[in-house]
């Protein structure tokens, strides 16, 4: 899933202070699960803004709405919903960065008589897993050429601070990474897992230079499935 954190309240307030009609738009998927941008968070943010502007004697209307996924046209096409979008001065999206951009693109494609302003209420962080209650960790950088079969299912690109393909570096100490004693050394985990599997020989040959073209280094990526296109 994609994880995110809410931006500091003061930053959000500053970004919407010039508008009279604000729609806080939650997203029911990833950011709802990591409790940053779901229904409850949309309601709370809307009431915090109402209260803050109200205390300053600033007459602002703040509503909250929710869609299943802001990264998909299908969930935002309801005409009654689009009518509300059109009435707002600003849409404060608390989806991930993908959702913010897609909602903006969709609204401006569908509502043609008025440009729609969409701004983010979250900082999108990473692709990760929910490890424990209230704990998420980064797991994948979307490098476009997965090496997990060689590394015991532990990603050296996303989880090693130096993305080493022939780790561990000389800073690995007691299973922890040199940059932070709270962080597991990915290469230590890889070696432990491969040892348990009896597969340690797999990492003995030198792993050659990575081709970064399938990653973001090759430019923004696009995925086309001709068989699915009409």
């Amino acid at each position: 899933m994609i994880t995110a954190d809410r931006k500091p309240f003061e930053e959000i307030k500053e970004s919407v202070k010039d508008y009279k009609k604000i729609m806080v738009l939650g997203c029911e998927t990833c950011v709802a699960i990591c409790q940053a941008g779901g229904e409850k968070e949309a309601e709370i943010l809307a009431s915090e803004l109402r209260l803050a502007f109200g205390n300053e004697g600033n007459k602002v209307e703040v509503n909250d709405e929710l869609v299943v996924r802001q990264c998909d046209d299908e969930f935002m096409a309801d005409p009654a919903f689009l009518e509300k979008v059109k009435e707002a001065d600003v849409i404060l999206s608390i989806a991930c960065g993908v959702g913010v951009q897609h909602a903006c693109n969709f609204f401006n494609r569908t509502i043609t008589d008025k440009p729609i302003r969409v701004i983010p209420g979250l900082n999108t962080t990473f692709m990760g897993a929910n490890i424990d209650v209230g704990l998420w960790e980064e797991r994948c950088l979307g490098c476009g050429d997965c090496v997990l079969e060689k590394t015991g299912g532990i990603c050296p690109i996303a989880r090693c601070a130096k993305s080493l393909l022939n780790g561990p570096c000389g800073g690995s100490s007691n299973g922890k990474c040199e940059i932070n004693k709270e962080l597991d050394c990915a290469w230590n985990l890889i070696i432990e897992r491969l040892e348990a599997l009896g597969d340690l020989d797999r990492i003995k040959p030198v792993e050659m230079y990575k081709d970064w073209r399938p990653s973001h280094s090759g430019g923004p990526r696009k995925r086309v499935r001709e068989d699915l296109r009409l």
Partner: protein, 307 residues
């Protein structure tokens, strides 16, 4: 000959070599480099020039190495994978070679979070082992990574680091074997204090015959104070300082700790010279360059051999 550097030829001759280290200034002050170089000249066989060590911005290792050559010393230019992609690395290596730099050390590099620009974006396009292979390909096949021919002669004596004190301990020797497989010519180890663990490591190295495939230089750093020892043990990952050593420094009493530190390092150097598989010493007297002559003299390593 791989590059015909002093270091390579001395090692070929079977001499027990000593390399020193010089940290470039935090600015373009050439005098700082010249002053440190003068302290090292004639006392060591080659000098490592660090590449923005601990991610603190300093004069580039290439420029500093060039100044060293002008001062009549032989540099060993360090290069880290943190700040350059393969394009910049190969380009800088051409430049280094054109300047007459004949030794280099391939390193991953300390993460930028340790330095004075933690906000920086890192590179890590290729890692230190791939860097060794890249330089070897450039030297032996006269080709850059993509296969294009190199114009002119590219010679380099290829070094890398090895930390026997990092974890997981049982895997460290295999990582060294990977560096050998990638084509490394010489190795300089992390500072050794825990001689017992180092010897255990060297036994594995010798059993695998790695010391015959590359020259291993044992790293040492004199301890200046009890505070420095405690700080390094606690904060520099991959450094182990046994309690007995710290006790010995403490026991020296006020005013004598530095002298005791030098005594310890001299004893280590002599012991390492007798250790199977060790071809030399890498003496890292960090911000203590003025003590190098004294240490080398006391350890009985002067005068340095000539060719």
């Amino acid at each position: 000959m791989k590059s015909g550097s002093n270091l390579e030829r001395l090692l070929e001759k079977g001499e027990f070599v000593v390399t020193g280290e010089l940290g470039p200034p935090k600015g373009p002050d050439v005098e700082v480099v010249k002053k440190k170089a003068a302290m090292l000249k004639g006392n060591v066989d080659a000098v490592n020039i660090t590449d923005n060590q601990t991610a603190i911005v300093r004069m580039s290792s290439i420029a500093t190495a060039k100044i060293l050559i002008e001062e009549g010393l032989e540099p060993n230019m360090q290069m880290v994978a943190r700040d350059r992609n393969r394009i910049a690395m190969m380009s800088d290596l051409f430049g280094a070679s054109a300047f007459g730099i004949k030794n280099m050390l391939c390193l991953s590099g300390d993460h930028q979070s340790f330095g004075n620009h933690p906000e920086a974006k890192n590179v890590f396009d290729i890692d230190s082992i791939q860097m060794i292979y890249m330089v070897k390909t450039m030297r032996d096949e006269h080709k850059v990574i993509c296969g294009d021919e190199i114009e002119g002669d590219f010679k380099m004596f290829i070094g890398a680091a090895c930390n026997p004190f990092a974890d997981p301990f049982q895997y460290r020797v295999h990582r060294l074997a990977k560096k050998v497989e990638a084509g490394v010519d010489f190795i300089q180890t992390q500072c050794i204090y825990d001689m017992k663990r180092f010897k255990e490591f060297m036994k594995q190295v010798v059993d695998m015959g790695l010391h015959e495939k590359c020259k291993i230089l044992a790293g040492v750093t004199p301890l200046k104070s009890v505070g420095m020892a405690r700080y390094m043990a606690a904060n520099v990952s991959g450094i182990i300082i046994p309690e007995e050593m710290i006790d010995r420094l403490k026991g020296a009493g006020k005013g004598n700790v530095a002298t005791e530190g030098i005594k310890i390092v001299c004893e280590q150097m002599q012991e390492l010279k007798e250790t199977e598989g060790i071809a030399g010493i890498h003496l890292m007297a960090i911000e203590w360059e003025h003590k190098v002559a004294e240490i080398m003299e006391a350890a009985g390593f002067l005068p340095r051999p000539t060719l």
